[in-house]
């Protein structure tokens, strides 16, 4: 009971503090040096649109707070990580050691995020991961100074596992690229699906980033499973969805996937994607005022429709804000700041979430269906789903 209420109490306290500080902040602000945020995101290459969305989201929240978090103005040090892990370590340490940023924000590509986490650990810099879903980051690599405001690959997959089972499918084939994200996703799906009595009869993979799927499609057609679960993103997602439809499997064997299968790719996928079911921690047509407000502001500010990535960036800023407010922008009080962030109840457009012990969002996962160019929410596939954070030896 006490354990239950403690956070709530602290939260109330924090918000109280916020109320007072926000006033005081304005007064003391000029004295306080701006807070340096190292924004390390992809601004070129396939992931560029994601990087931009995340940055926009982050800046939108800061803007809404009058350009200040915890009384500190924000200095952005932008750096294009080019989604290239071989440069990631150098880039990250450039931000930390040369530009002396107080906070690292990034990134999309899991490999790059791993490198950033390494640097953050070594230099004890605060790192907020606004997308990369690698289970490791909030698993074996978890650390007090590393937070994630997006998701772990395990989460949407696990939720989808339950959904597919509930739809009565017994025999399922999974398909993904042969790389970490895909394998983690499939593992999560399998865990939930087989726990619910289903059976994954075959786990197909395609060498990354190969986009020639005909061989696997043929196998799927031959295996005639009750359903297919896939994890693809970007070009792979577009191509696979189109090929799946073209092979006439779409109407025969229902296709399910982690949300990235149909996020930011619908324009390219066209009709092939219509009606597809995917799970993610965000969806179009959430009715909450919070979401609608966010979307309105975002559209106004950037003349763009926001997406899940924008939300993740936005929430990264919220989380950071919560921490800064608690210490009145004094980042030297790292422990207090981290504690505040751990306790924060982030009022996200996706719906409120809190941090798990391993600093990964404990959040609702939605089941969405593609209608036109939108992923309309159907229902909440998993309420308050927390990543198991396997291998995390924190507290």
């Amino acid at each position: 009971m006490i354990f239950d209420s403690a956070p709530k109490f602290r939260l109330a306290f924090a918000s109280l503090v916020l109320a007072c500080v926000s006033g005081a902040a304005q007064a003391q602000a000029p004295s306080a040096a701006p807070l340096k945020v190292g924004v390390m995101l992809p601004f070129t290459g396939t992931y560029a649109p994601l990087g931009v969305a995340i940055e926009n989201g982050f800046k939108l929240y800061v803007q809404q707070q009058g350009g200040r978090l915890g009384g500190r103005t924000i200095d952005y040090v932008r750096l294009d990580d080019e989604s290239d892990p071989s440069k990631a370590s150098e880039n990250a340490s450039r931000l930390v050691k040369r530009d002396h940023v107080d906070v690292l924000l990034g990134t999309v590509h899991s490999g790059v995020a791993m490198a950033m986490a390494k640097v953050a650990k070594d230099t004890n810099t605060l790192l907020i991961v606004p997308n990369a879903g690698a289970d490791n980051v909030t698993g074996p690599l978890c650390a007090p100074n590393i937070f994630r405001t997006s998701f772990s690959n395990w989460q949407p997959a696990y939720a989808m596992g339950k959904v597919v089972a509930s739809k009565g499918a017994k025999r399922v084939v999974t398909l993904t690229w042969k790389y970490a994200a895909g394998e983690e996703s499939v593992r999560g799906f399998k865990e939930a699906f087989e726990a619910a009595g289903g059976k994954v009869i075959d786990e197909l993979t395609v060498p990354f980033p190969n986009v020639e799927f005909q061989a696997q499609l043929t196998q799927i057609a031959a295996a005639k499973p009750d359903a297919v679960y896939v994890f693809f993103a970007g070009a792979g997602a577009v191509k696979f969805v189109k090929d799946y439809a073209a092979a006439g499997l779409k109407d025969k064997i229902p296709l399910y996937g982690a949300g990235f299968l149909t996020d930011g790719t619908l324009e390219a996928q066209g009709d092939a994607a219509q009606g597809l079911l995917t799970t993610l921690h965000y969806a179009d047509g959430l009715t909450s005022a919070r979401d609608q407000g966010f979307r309105l502001d975002y559209a106004k500010t950037y003349k763009l429709q926001p997406d899940v990535y924008a939300v993740q960036g936005y929430d990264a800023a919220q989380l950071l804000g919560a921490g800064l407010v608690a210490v009145k922008g004094d980042t030297t009080q790292r422990d207090a700041m981290v504690r505040a962030m751990e306790q924060a109840k982030v009022d996200s457009p996706r719906g409120p979430f809190v941090m798990s012990k391993a600093h990964n969002p404990v959040q609702d996962i939605y089941l969405r269906q593609v209608k036109g160019h939108e992923n309309r929410v159907v229902l909440v596939a998993a309420k308050g789903l927390a990543d198991p954070a396997r291998g995390c030896r924190m507290n």
Partner: protein, 291 residues
């Protein structure tokens, strides 16, 4: 694997192999005849795909786009050779590698500046959009079959061009011996320009043809380039026929590799290359590895 599935897989292998051939043929042509190593070939393929995207967006019809693209690519290739390659023949391969590597970077960046980094789909023309049933549990998209057919036609056209026409005669002369060709009064500079724009055209054509199937995305060239290298290495430098055989071979190894040996699917085709090197260093139909 049932017999039906097996046949479908063979079909997959074939049509993948045919596409590979189409892309690689341009490469092997330029290799064999001009002795130029062209790392930018993959980028040319990408250019094709993006041309297909923007031209279909413009004209609304893939085939108009194809026609337009062919003309454009021939002209562009001609200029490209003139500007970037014409002075490379006397230089050693290092310089060529460097130059074409630079081209890759430039092309990739121009792509991102002009068209952006989004993934795009290209609509299949209506009358090819359908699918036909193969076996009883799978449909096969007509357009893929169409592409394969197109590849075969282009392959034959290429064969005819090189074996049966005067231009082809000159090309072969130029390939076998530069001085000799010159002494025969062939304008080698012009010949090379033509050959290069032909190779460029082939890359672009294949990119455009395959765009509706492959989708259009940044960095799509790099992958293709390396596979093309495999085709050329396995087929034997400059041997169009060799490239054809090699492409089909790779198509089969790749497809069945994915099916039968998932863990190693990535390296299957490279192992194939290693074996070929072991038994026939000059490639299947290559006379000599020297060039």
């Amino acid at each position: 694997m049932t017999l039906a599935t097996f046949f479908v897989q063979c079909l997959n292998s074939m049509q993948y192999g045919l596409l590979l051939f189409l892309v690689a043929s341009g490469l092997t042509l330029v290799f064999g005849i001009m002795g130029i190593v062209n790392l930018a070939h993959g980028s040319f393929y990408m250019i094709g795909a993006y041309l297909a995207y923007s031209l279909t967006a413009l004209t609304g019809n893939l085939f108009v786009a194809l026609a337009l693209g062919l003309v454009l690519s021939l002209i562009f290739g001609y200029l490209l050779e003139w500007v970037f390659f014409s002075f490379l023949y006397e230089r050693d391969h290092l310089q060529q590698v460097l130059m074409t590597y630079g081209l890759i970077l430039v092309i990739e960046e121009l792509r991102s500046i002009l068209i952006g980094d989004d993934v795009h789909g290209v609509a299949v023309p209506a009358f090819l959009a359908g699918s036909i049933a193969i076996g009883n549990d799978m449909l096969y998209p007509v357009y893929r079959l169409f592409v394969s057919a197109a590849c075969v036609v282009l392959a034959l056209a290429l064969y005819w061009l090189i074996r049966k026409t005067r231009v082809g005669m000159k090309i072969r002369a130029g390939a076998s011996n530069r001085e000799m060709a010159q002494s025969l009064g062939i304008d080698i500079g012009l010949l090379y320009r033509v050959v290069f724009s032909l190779g460029f055209g082939l890359a672009v054509m294949s990119g455009m043809l395959f765009a509706p199937v492959s989708t259009v995305y940044p960095g799509m060239g790099a992958q293709m380039l390396i596979v093309c290298f495999l085709v050329v290495v396995i087929g034997g430098i400059g041997s169009i026929t060799g490239a054809f055989v090699a492409a089909l071979l790779i198509g089969f190894v790749d497809t069945f590799g994915k099916v039968l040996w998932q863990e190693g699917a990535g390296i299957a085709i490279y192992l194939l290359m290693a074996v070929i090197l072991l038994v026939r260093p000059a490639g299947l139909l290559g006379e000599r590895a020297m060039r």
